[in-house]
């Protein structure tokens, strides 16, 4: 089955056509592709090995290709192996399908070991000063990718159905939890008293699919004016109005959960943290970039003082998606804030301190400022950083996340809601709705909300392990009082997105489902959980200053 899977993810067996396809995708001219062609040829040779094995192996393609190098040690290699973005989505679907056939007891434990395994692996590889939450997030995604491996038996029998699912195209990008988002901020080098670099509006991009590439070059009238910050996922090129930027200057690629940069033959160079990536007009290899890196395009042209001769310095912000979702921290802050005015019994012992004055910050009758990252300070303390020369850009002094304070207010969680409503219209979503109800008690409050599968998915991402454990009991209950067939989507699917993509996109799967779980059951379940209102860990849409999708105040 796996051979058919690999084929359906549109990656030809031989690396040569795929290489050609890549370049045509990037609309490259022939002469440009020469140096990189040589490069990729060498790498594709080595990348054949995993491909071959995945083809002949016929057990779990997603695993065998992605798991050997979760951190891309060989950028180009992993780029090729990961080229079919849908395979990721497929892997996750496979996971939910597979695990549903497992016994309730075995699946969660399986997941547990998986997660810890991959966490351990990650910890050994990951960079030294990566904050724990990030590692955690990466671990979860990795465990999703690699989950199918230890369950060869059921996988074989089940997978024939979802093979065509990845062709759907919309599976992966719109629904994967960790969307590849990168943001570019103007950076002024304060140490070297050089001339200011080119000012530009901060740019944000969320890749529609992992195989997309963000091209960066000189702004050209002919290309039209690309939106600096499209709200929808986009891989629109990024242009800078500077003479020292080449038309095709560099590219940003997302490979195996890691952003990379590559000079595509610029004349005046791309610099990553002051290191030049390649000789003039030469294509560089892929360099991985991390949050906070400084990328400089070109060097100042000394012949003129105009802005158009300035180089571009970009501060990269990436890998922060964990911060833009509900997480332990911002949920905690939210609950503290919600109880702020509630007076007598409120417990302020666990209050955060203002990192500026070290005083307790979450007390009533104080003017506070909260950034999009949910860090809070006294307004008086933080005002110095708000009204800085950099205004409207604000950098959180705690976590260094950038916020554009002048960005339009993004009221509500619109994008989230839209995503929730889509599936609510077709049949299987009823089922996923029920899964929501069947989720662990710690997230019970979501039941009182209308169609919140995504919200739950986000939440559950965080409480993956806990949920798995608790689902263990829940599912037992369910099987006794529910007549659902055993091949229903995995109740243990930690992320509801998994379940939903499984429900929505697998042809031939839907009919076998009890199409509509009686809605009475849902409401019954909902009314069964009256204690929900007090749960502090649950995100709500009506939360005042908190933006759970993290987009408020961001460009």
């Amino acid at each position: 089955m796996s051979t058919s899977v690999t084929a359906s993810t549109s990656l030809p067996d031989s690396p040569r056509p795929s290489r050609l396809r890549r370049f045509s995708l990037r609309t490259y001219t022939q002469n440009l592709s020469l140096p990189s062609g040589q490069r990729s040829y060498r790498h594709s040779l080595s990348s054949r090995v995993p491909w071959r094995s995945s083809n002949s192996d016929s057990v779990s393609p997603a695993n065998s290709t992605t798991s050997p190098c979760p951190e891309s040690d060989h950028p180009t290699l992993s780029r090729y192996t990961s080229a079919p973005a849908p395979s990721y989505g497929f892997g996750t679907e496979l996971n939910s399908q597979v695990s549903s056939t497992e016994s309730a007891a075995s699946t969660p434990s399986n997941d547990l070991t998986q997660t810890t395994n991959s966490m351990a692996r990650l910890r050994s590889i990951s960079a030294v000063h990566r904050p724990p939450p990030r590692t955690l997030e990466r671990a979860t995604t990795n465990s999703q990718e690699s989950t199918p491996s230890p369950e060869p038996g059921p996988a074989q029998s089940n997978v024939s159905e979802p093979t065509s699912a990845p062709a759907d195209g919309q599976v992966t990008p719109s629904k994967s939890e960790t969307k590849a988002t990168i943001r570019f901020f103007p950076y002024q080098d304060s140490l070297q008293s050089s001339r200011p670099s080119l000012p530009f509006v901060p740019v944000a991009r969320t890749l529609p699919s992992e195989s997309c590439v963000i091209r960066v070059g000189r702004y050209s009238e002919r290309d039209g004016v690309p939106l600096p910050n499209p709200t929808e996922p986009s891989d629109a090129p990024v242009g800078f109005k500077s003479k020292v930027v080449s038309r095709k200057h560099c590219e940003f690629l997302y490979v195996n959960g890691q952003w990379h940069i590559k000079d595509v033959g610029s004349s005046s160079g791309t610099f990553l943290n002051h290191m030049r990536l390649s000789q003039p007009n030469m294509v560089s290899r892929l360099y991985s970039i991390k949050d906070g890196d400084i990328v400089q395009l070109g060097i100042d042209f000394r012949g003129g003082e105009e802005m158009i001769f300035r180089c571009v310095r970009i501060r990269i912000e990436c890998n922060r998606s964990w911060q833009q979702q509900p997480n332990e921290f911002n949920k905690n802050t939210e609950s503290l804030i919600k109880n702020l005015g509630k007076g007598e019994t409120a417990d302020y012992s666990g209050c955060r301190e203002c990192s500026i004055c070290l005083g307790s910050v979450l007390r009533p009758y104080q003017c506070l400022f909260m950034a999009a990252c949910a860090h809070v300070w006294h307004y008086k303390c933080i005002s110095r950083l708000l009204h800085s020369p950099d205004y409207p850009m604000f950098q959180c002094p705690n976590c260094r996340a950038f916020t554009d304070l002048s960005a339009e207010v993004d009221d509500s969680n619109d994008p989230e809601e839209k995503r929730e409503k889509e599936p609510a219209e077709d049949g299987p979503s009823n089922d996923s709705g029920e899964q929501v109800d069947a989720e662990a008690p710690s997230v019970v409050e979501t039941n009182s909300m209308e169609g919140p599968p995504d919200q739950l998915g986000d939440l559950a991402e965080e409480e993956h392990l806990a949920n798995d454990v608790e689902n263990l009991h829940l599912q037992e209950d369910q099987q006794t009082d529910d007549t659902r067939s055993s091949d229903s989507p995995a109740p243990n699917s930690s992320s509801d997105d998994l379940a939903r993509s499984a429900t929505a996109n697998i042809p031939g799967w839907q009919p076998t489902q009890p199409l509509s779980v009686p809605s009475g059951r849902q409401s019954q379940l909902r009314s069964d959980t009256p204690t929900s209102d007090d749960n502090p860990l649950t995100p709500r849409n009506d939360s005042g200053p908190l933006a759970f999708d993290g987009r408020a105040g961001m460009p």
Binding site: S190, L191, S355, I356, C357, L358, G359, K380
Partner: protein, 152 residues
Amino acid sequence: MGSIKRISKELTELTESPPEGITVELADESNVYEWNVIMEGPEGSAYYNGKFLVKLSLPTEYPFKPPTVSFATKIYHPNVTNDEKGSMCLGMLRADEWKPSSKIAAVLQFARQLLSEPMPDDAVEGRIAEQYKNDRGRYEEVAREWTRKHAC
């Protein structure tokens, strides 16, 4: 003058529950911006048994600007300049690395950590760093010698 409030708060914390091997006091009771810190050489390091006087100086913009740390006691260490200033190069104290949320306690602990584990790649004294990397025995000998001579 928010900085004074924060600094006194940190000073109180540090005097009430000082971190291991670190004692702080104001160099001058009327000036909260200059601190004297007595740092004991960590056990197991070449500086063990030494008591080093470290001057911590806080800018008026603290905590928005980082403090500076310098060794008033001579010390043989790749990350401390071998002159009368004895300034110490700490990554977290560089202007672009500094976070207002870092506390003085963390800075001092980090500095003491640096005594047990010098960072030769981030050195200000290239010669000592070289020796630390290539001739550890000799380095420790000299460091011990200096500790005995200056810090006891």
